[in-house]
Amino acid sequence: MTAAAAHVWRVALLALVYAASPSLAAAQSLTVRAAGDMLQVRGTGLRLIEGAVADHLKDGRSVRVDFEMTILDKAAQGAAVTQNRQSFTLSFDLWEQRYAVTRAGSPLRSISHLLARDAEAWCLENMAIPITAIGRFARDLPFWVRVEYRVQDQPPQVETESPFTLRTLIEALSRRRPDETPGRTLEAGPFRIGN
């Protein structure tokens, strides 16, 4: 094997490792910014409305997504400084070909006529964390941001009069094992508010 060929192999191997690591792939996909007294996160690599999720939405079904944003004191296994959890419900307008998002909790907020990436971004925007919550990391220390989401795609439930009917039994025994719940973890950092 020549030196050039060995170099090509090394590069290919590194590229493979890089591609196989979601956190590495997403390392540059999150950015943070201070919006007033809130810390907002933006991401370009969220890729939430894709594949099965997009198919479900285009079939007219609503999809619930649970987000969890964590501020870490260091990368990977760092300790959580603060956390924010939010649930969003996505839906799709068949005729306008646009998405709508509703944030659960109080106050209830919703928006419609969004493109897929805009809907994802809106979810992240609504995960904002008060800057005061991150304490001394607000100005002095670097911090890392980890965003996790998990799609809770509930198959349509068949309404039955009683849980102990023949129909319920058939439903339970005929159900295929659901696909692994789509989810993703993005982590990026270090950030400073001043950045």
């Binding site: 479900h56 079939d59 007219g60 068949l94 005729w95 198959p155 005929s174």
Partner: protein
């Protein structure tokens, strides 16, 4: 050891599993065929086609509405956004979105299309009917169709139906298996105990009896076993007794013979000695001879009793009215024991017995005499008769002092007593005669406080007498 129960259960398994398997196979085959008619894919295709078509329609309506608005062919409703709160929700949302234009559906079921355009400080809304097409309603129906398709795609109905069928069949089968095991256990348990009883009985437990628990074939078998065991026990006891009696008879016969052989020459010699004695000394000699001859006569009576005990008179069995014989024997004895009260409780329904009249009379006389002697003056002797199964029971009770344990144990064994009356052979002879007729004599608890004897005799025409056959005159030989 539950082989019978296990076999019954195995029979159930074999008898049910094969048709059950066939039923399941047929059902699942039919299920496959019926699922083949499912129209899920057609529904999927139809919904997609409809969606695409309606989307084209919607696009066209959008374009048309926008063109008409631009050409001022439509009148706009204008909302000034100085106070957004006064505008409808959809207009307000549009205003806040920052978009230049937006289309929304309105009206019942979405049968109107609204076109909102942003202008300086206001929103112009143009609206048009969609020709009676309810787009939102249609979207909901399409969603339902897609949900149904998705639901079907997320299910393996064949597996679901098959597993449900198997589960229910297994459940029903198990539910039916449980009572079967119970029933099999109920059937096999008495047979098991019958087998165990037979085994113990065969091992020598002659008192082995089983509880009658059911009134069916098994219960009849248990009853037959108990009856057989009782008959065998009694016959065995009779056999043992008769064997003993036979030995005693041989001994008595030889003793009587030897004594008789000795007593005759002694008696003749004594008489000769007296005859040859001179007249002067004869008085003393005659007195002495009288004493010797008296003792010889006593011995001769015992020898005769021995001979009688050893003898086996023929049994002329015939149907007898036992009540009449008992009454007649009591009447016969009353004058001999005037101080004794005789009481007869004779069941009029008592059937005839099949026995020898002389032997029966001898037995009754013996027992009634013994009773009167035991009761003494002022005492009572009671005779009762009744039917018990295939036998007739005659009981003689007295109000005497009763019998001690040792006396009761050896009551029917032949003995030699030197009391004034009786030789000690009466009861053993009576028992022997009863046994020879297919009956028995046993000691029972006295009803009058004294002794009680039970004489059992076979019924005329009953199973016992029939076995001996009408021509047989000695049923005891049949027993031995």
């Amino acid at each position: 050891m539950h082989s019978l129960r296990n076999r019954l259960v195995a029979a159930f398994l074999v008898a049910t599993l094969l048709p059950l398997g066939a039923t399941i196979w047929i059902t699942t085959s039919l299920l496959d065929r019926s699922l083949g008619y499912a129209t899920t894919e057609e529904l999927d295709g139809l919904s997609r086609t409809l969606e695409a078509t309606m989307r084209q329609f919607y696009e066209r309506e959008r374009r048309s509405l926008k063109q008409d608005a631009a050409a001022a062919r439509l009148t706009a409703t204008s909302f000034t956004m100085d106070e957004p709160g006064a505008a409808p929700e959809a207009v307000r949302a549009f205003w806040e979105s920052g978009e230049d234009e937006r289309f929304t559906l309105s009206g019942p079921g979405g049968d109107r299309l609204d076109y909102m355009a942003r202008a300086a400080g206001r929103v112009e809304v143009y609206s048009r009917e969609l020709g009676g097409i309810h787009m939102q309603e249609l979207a909901a129906q399409l969603r339902q169709a897609r949900e149904l398709v998705g639901s079907m795609a997320g299910r393996d109905l064949r597996r679901g139906f098959t597993l449900t069928l198997l589960l229910l069949v297994a459940l029903v089968w198990l539910v039916s298996l449980a009572p079967l095991i119970f029933i099999a256990h109920r059937i096999s348990r008495p047979i098991q105990s019958l087998t165990a009883g037979l085994t113990r009985f065969a091992a020598g437990d002659w008192d082995q009896r089983l509880a009658m628990v059911r009134d069916d074939e098994v219960g009849s078998a248990v009853g037959a076993f108990n009856h057989m065991a009782e008959q065998l026990r009694r016959n065995r006891e009779r056999l043992v007794y008769l064997t003993q009696v036979s030995s005693w008879e041989t001994l008595a016969r030889k003793t009587a013979h030897e004594l008789k052989n000795s007593l005759t020459p002694i008696r003749l010699t004594v008489e000769e000695m007296v005859a040859r004695q001179p007249q002067s000394d004869r008085e003393f000699m005659q007195q002495a001879a009288q004493i010797v001859i008296g003792e010889i006569e006593t011995l001769e009576r015992r020898v005769r009793a021995f001979s009688e005990f050893a003898s086996e008179p023929p049994v002329s069995a015939e149907p007898l009215d036992i009540n009449a014989i008992v009454a007649e024997r009591v009447s016969l004895l009353k004058p001999a024991h005037p101080e004794t009260t005789y009481r007869c409780t004779l069941d009029a329904q008592t059937p005839q017995v099949y026995a020898g009249a002389d032997l029966v009379k001898g037995i009754l006389i013996n027992l009634l005499e013994n009773g009167a002697e035991a009761a003494g003056p002022g005492g009572t002797v009671e005779a009762t008769t009744r039917q018990q199964g295939h036998e007739v029971v005659v009981e003689i009770h007295d109000s005497g002092p009763g019998l001690g344990a040792e006396a009761a144990r050896t009551l029917f064994e032949p003995t030699i007593t030197f009391k004034k009356h009786g030789m000690g052979l009466g009861l053993s002879i009576a028992k022997k005669h009863a046994l020879r007729m297919g009956g028995d004599i046993t000691l029972v608890e006295g009803a009058l406080g004294g002794a009680g004897f039970r004489v059992v005799l076979p019924i005329a025409g009953g199973p016992g007498s029939y076995e001996r056959g009408p021509g047989s005159s000695d049923p005891a030989h049949k027993l031995t």
